[in-house]
């Protein structure tokens, strides 16, 4: 057998294996289906990333621009449970859990958004 041909075949096989491995890594590191992540930002800077898939009962204190927000996670949902903002819109929004949803506190410039694979293109 021609040694050059054999070498080329080995390189081809190794290259294909490399492509398969890279593709697998990329697929695994992309958003896992069913995984929900909440991103909390203050003044457009991300300050906390919360994995809602863990269904943890946990409280986070977020330093907003005008005060501290108490953010709570419960059964895969997240809410602002206490804020010093005058209208309390962020608190009134209650718990959100759907991908694509967000809670905004204008007074403290805090935005909480939920990542993940949304069921719908738009959630009203």
């Amino acid at each position: 057998m021609d040694k050059t041909k054999l070498r080329n075949d080995i390189i081809l096989i190794l290259s294909l294996l490399l492509v398969a491995a890279v593709t697998l890594i990329v697929l695994l590191t992309r958003t896992t289906p069913g995984k929900k992540t909440a991103h909390i930002s203050v003044s457009n800077q991300e300050v906390e990333v919360v994995d809602l898939s863990k269904n943890e009962d946990k409280e986070y204190l977020i330093n907003g621009t005008n005060g501290v927000l108490h953010v709570h996670t419960h059964e895969g949902a997240i809410a602002v449970i206490e804020s010093n903002c005058p209208h309390q819109d962020c608190v009134h929004m209650g718990y959100i859990s759907e991908a694509g949803r967000s809670i905004v506190c204008i007074y403290n410039q805090v935005i909480i958004t939920i990542d993940g694979e949304p069921i719908n293109d738009v959630e009203l």
């Binding site: 890279v22 819109d89 929004m93 069921i119 009203l124």
Partner: protein, 319 residues
Amino acid sequence: MKINRLLSLLSIAILTSCSSGKNYLDGKVFCFNTIVQSILYEGNNNNITDIKNILLEYDALTDNYAKRTGINNVYTINNSEEAVEVDPKLYNILSKCMEVSQKYELFNPLCGSLAKKWKSALANKQILDEATINEELEKIKNSTLVLGENNTVQIIGEAELDLGAVAKGYANDIIRDYLATSSITKYLINSGVSSVLAGEKNNTDGLYNVGLPLVVKREYFKAKNIFISTSGNYEQGVEIEGKTYSHIVNPITGSALNTNDAVVVLSDSGYLGDIYSTLLMMYDIDDIKTFEQEENVKTIVIRGTEIVYHHPDIEVLTH
């Protein structure tokens, strides 16, 4: 040589597999007290910037909470005892609002002060007292918005303007015209869910799946090339003594209790859709059916966790 070519091809394949796969442009901008997301499946970043500028311009013009540098906005009008010359764009919005309010008395852009007082009371989990409601209703009743020559505007009386029910929808009307001029047909402008401009999706039928408010579980409908306006108390509602009070206030009775918990309106106009969804929160089902025929809109009405009515042409699906 062949090996080199093969390796080059493989490199391209690897790089392609590492790309994000995102096949659209998107932009987010904080305005109208919410986040507006623009998704374009066509066009370029200049289009995203133009849309952002439209949104910011109308946000500034219609802001009733703060004065903006270099312009006379709603805040300026509310805080001036004299006629104020405004941008023709704001003048146009006000003219259109007045037309609708003359037709439907349950829509009154002059109930800004009443809405603010309700909002403050509800923030403290309190119901606004009767004396304050009556005082505010008197202000509304005795006030007039005068639209004069040369784009001048003046409120005669003590009432305050609030264009919260109109602003996002009107900006979406402008964006729709802009996108049409730019020959862009595949897009989605999501103005904080209450006002959505749906073009076509980048799929075979062009339809978007639109999920209904959280009170309805996993139900959705399909839509394209339409404005979708939603009003409801599911986000800003406050429950006191078993009743849910909302930011949507009846300008005749002064009440913040609504007949419906959420109303979705599908229409050909952003600003009208937004006004109608607010208005129909106070309508019963029979009146909503009549309204649909008169105004050529389609609605979905939600009470509690149930869809109590939807237009026969809207197919409500479940995941």
